[in-house]
């Protein structure tokens, strides 16, 4: 992971040097601009995530046991108890947003209905581990670096060209491909962090079995739905089968591997 992190830093350093050279910006301005860019992405991202699913607070009276377990695990992981929210997402799902002192965990109504209390605890412990390990912030930072490098690459192409249609097109294409390339490294970190969050969740609740069961239950349900909905779409996607390149461009490791590791 240190190697992948260094590569990401190298991408950012090259972009920063180009901005300093081309626009004559001092280093302090480049750093300030980068922090502002990532900060705005973080703030907007958190707000958008909660708004897009219509998340509402999960009242303590509705799920007192769940609140108690989350509070206990949060204490063990040395983070403030995150805000617990619930949303209608149409599928069993959960995600965490925010940072250690101001985290939020959202669970879907479908997840609450699908899992038993222990399995739900496993899922929540995994999400708490993401907050404790600053994974949400790390992903925002990774996306920020990818976006900055892509924007710089785009501008370099634009500023060195003749401003004809081929140049505009080349700038857009180079920006997109650069972002994809940098994100390959961010995805690698993300997959690694998923395993770490699984391991931390297993340590927190004393066993990996509840989370393994939860993943198994959810993926079995997903397989049934996938065969009904997505057969024609998957026919168009050569990466849809979870093969080598699909793994490279995934934020999560394969569910089977996670279950296997949780049970080891």
């Amino acid at each position: 992971m240190a190697v992948v992190g260094s590569i990401l830093f190298a991408f950012y350093a090259v972009a920063a040097v180009v901005v300093m050279g081309v626009f004559q910006w001092p280093l302090s301005l480049v750093l300030l601009g980068s922090v502002l860019f990532v900060g705005v992405q973080y703030k907007i991202g958190k707000w958008m995530a909660l708004r897009s699913v219509g998340a509402e607070d999960l009242p303590e009276e509705r799920a007192p046991d769940l609140h108690r377990r989350v509070e206990s695990h949060a204490r063990d992981m040395r983070i403030d108890k995150p805000r617990l929210m619930v949303a209608q997402m149409g599928v069993p799902n959960a995600f965490a947003v925010g940072r250690k002192g101001a985290g939020t965990v959202v669970v879907s109504e479908e997840l609450l209905q699908t899992l038993d209390d222990d399995e739900l605890e496993g899922v929540l412990a995994h999400e708490l581990a993401h907050i404790a390990n600053r994974d949400v912030v790390m992903m925002v930072l990774g996306q920020g670096v990818a976006s900055i490098v892509a924007i710089v690459a785009q501008w370099v192409v634009l500023m060195t060209g003749d401003n004809d249609i081929a140049d505009f097109f080349l700038a857009i294409v180079v920006g997109q491909l650069t972002q994809l390339l940098v994100m390959v490294f961010v995805f690698a970190i993300s997959r690694y962090r998923e395993y770490v969050a699984d391991s931390d969740a297993a340590s927190a609740i004393g066993s990996g079995e509840p989370l393994a069961r939860a993943l198994e239950k959810i993926s079995r349900g997903a397989e049934r739905r996938d065969t009904e909905i997505d057969s024609q779409v998957n026919a168009l996607c050569i990466f849809g089968d979870g093969g080598g390149i699909a793994k490279l461009l995934s934020t999560h490791p394969p569910v089977e591997k996670r279950i296997e590791r949780l049970r080891q």
Partner: protein
Amino acid sequence: MADVRTLLAVALGALLGVLCLVAPEAIVRAQTAGRRPDGRGGEYGADAVATRWRRLVQVVGVGCLLVAAYVASTAL
């Protein structure tokens, strides 16, 4: 004869177009990871992307191929 930048525009544009057509999920994830919660189009622990986003990226891919073909036809 077309210059190097025009050739690059055609080649990379076609590459991006093909990528959008065959791997729309990767393109969506590259844009949304860190900005939106994971697995919004699918289940917990999965890496799914909603069908409508995949379709949109595939349409953009066709657009890329068309622009690449236009640039090629005017320059070559």
